[in-house]
């Protein structure tokens, strides 16, 4: 968990740095009176690195993936709940009393 958060923060910081570099680069272009043809190489690299890091953090930090297959162990239903709303007490349990000292102490 800790590593994931650190990596995520790092990724976001790199993205911010890329934004800052772009603004700086555009300012430089204005001074040099050149046309904007594309972002510089280091900004593109930073963007890609930031994307990978933040994506990795976004996928690992919130938790594991849950299965959506109906036949996976977590989703496969093996028995229905006993219908307790319709439970009846008129059964053979009456003939077999429990052998334990059940008493409420207060």
């Amino acid at each position: 968990m800790g590593i994931g958060v650190v990596v995520g923060v790092l990724g976001v910081l790199i993205l911010f740095h890329a934004a800052y570099s772009t603004i700086q680069y555009r300012g430089l272009l204005k001074i040099m009176e050149e046309e904007f043809s594309g972002p510089p190489m280091n900004v593109v690299l930073e963007l890609l690195l930031g994307l990978v890091l933040s994506m990795w953090a976004g996928l690992t930090v919130p938790g594991n993936f849950l299965s959506i297959h109906p036949d996976s162990e977590e989703n496969r239903i093996v028995s229905l709940p006993a219908n307790l709303d319709f439970m009846i007490f008129n059964h053979r349990g009456r003939v077999f009393p429990l052998e334990m000292n059940v008493k409420l102490k207060n």
Binding site: E73, V78, S79, N83, L98
Partner: protein, 302 residues
């Protein structure tokens, strides 16, 4: 619904609690969540928690839920003295509560005094005529008196109001099956499949009912539903695999001499046989000869 993971969790926890490893409260919570009927164990471990003042007070407001759970378990085990003590405690804490009133009526039911229980339920219904739990208890009351037709009538009336209650539909289906009224039961299972199409056990039960009804058309539909049960359970439901085998063999007997090429059907059946054999080899190798002789008698194996 109890999934495979929850079932294993319940079993390990039960083992742990049975061997004195602690975790009784977690076990009771899980039993309540999964709605399984383990009344004897709930009574045993619930009582030990409730008798221990320290443990009991550490539960906070959950204490009263535990009281209710253990009281119902005690009724199921016919330990009526305990129930009476608990009801006194609950009445003191929650005077004029409907939920406690329901427990009292259930105690009357457990004692077998049907008339008094019926009166108690009726008086509770006067205050709130649409109380689902009490309406269901009345169905159970007629069922425990052996008045099955009365229970069906009550349940049908209930389902006219609360059509989305799948537990009630399941109860009605089971009652119909117990009376061998398969057509009506099939209707109930259709409702259940419509409301919860991803639960393989409903498909399985519907297919069972159709197979029991018989006839070529019903058998073919049953086979389809067994196949969908296999699909939804990932082939781990042995009953559905056997269902495919039985359906194929009876369909083959019915259409014998008509010389219809049913290639897909025979493929399905040989796949089911293979899956069964693999499953038996893995889990019960000793019973494998038994399986092959049974399949041979169905003329599925050469």
């Amino acid at each position: 619904m109890v999934t495979k993971t929850e079932e294993t969790q319940l079993n390990t926890l039960e083992n742990q609690v049975d061997n004195g490893g602690g975790g009784a409260w977690e076990y009771l919570c899980l039993v309540r969540k999964l709605k399984v009927r383990r009344s004897d164990k709930v009574l045993k471990y619930g009582l030990s928690i409730l008798n221990d003042v320290k443990q009991r007070s550490s539960l906070g407001p959950d204490e009263w839920t535990l009281y209710e759970q253990v009281a119902i378990a005690a009724m199921d085990c016919q330990c009526l003295d305990v129930v009476k003590d608990y009801l006194k405690v609950l009445q003191k804490r929650f005077p004029e509560s409907k939920r406690v009133g329901r427990l009292e009526a259930m105690l009357l039911e457990a004692k077998g005094s049907w008339k008094e229980a019926e009166e108690a339920y009726s008086s509770l219904l006067e205050d709130n005529p649409l109380d689902q739990v009490i309406l269901k208890r009345r169905v159970a009351l007629s069922k425990s008196q052996g008045n099955i037709s009365g229970a069906i009538e009550c349940l049908n009336k209930y389902l006219e109001i609360f059509m989305a209650d799948h537990d009630a539909w399941r109860e009605l289906a089971e009652i119909y099956v117990s009376l061998q009224m398969y057509k009506q039961a099939a209707f109930c299972y259709e409702e259940l499949i419509l409301s919860q199409p991803t639960i393989p056990l409903y498909h399985l039960a519907y297919a069972d009912v159709l197979y029991t009804l018989g006839g070529l058309e019903n058998l073919q539909t049953a086979k389809k539903y067994y196949a969908s049960a296999i699909d939804l359970s990932g082939g781990k439901n042995t009953r559905a695999l056997f269902g495919i085998c039985l359906c194929s063999s009876s369909i083959a007997q019915l259409t014998k001499g008509k010389n219809r090429e049913d290639k897909e059907g025979s493929q399905l059946q040989s796949l089911a046989v293979k899956a069964l054999e693999k499953d038996y080899k893995q889990r019960a190798a000793g019973n494998l000869p038994l399986l092959s002789s049974a399949l041979k008698s169905l003329i599925l194996l050469p």
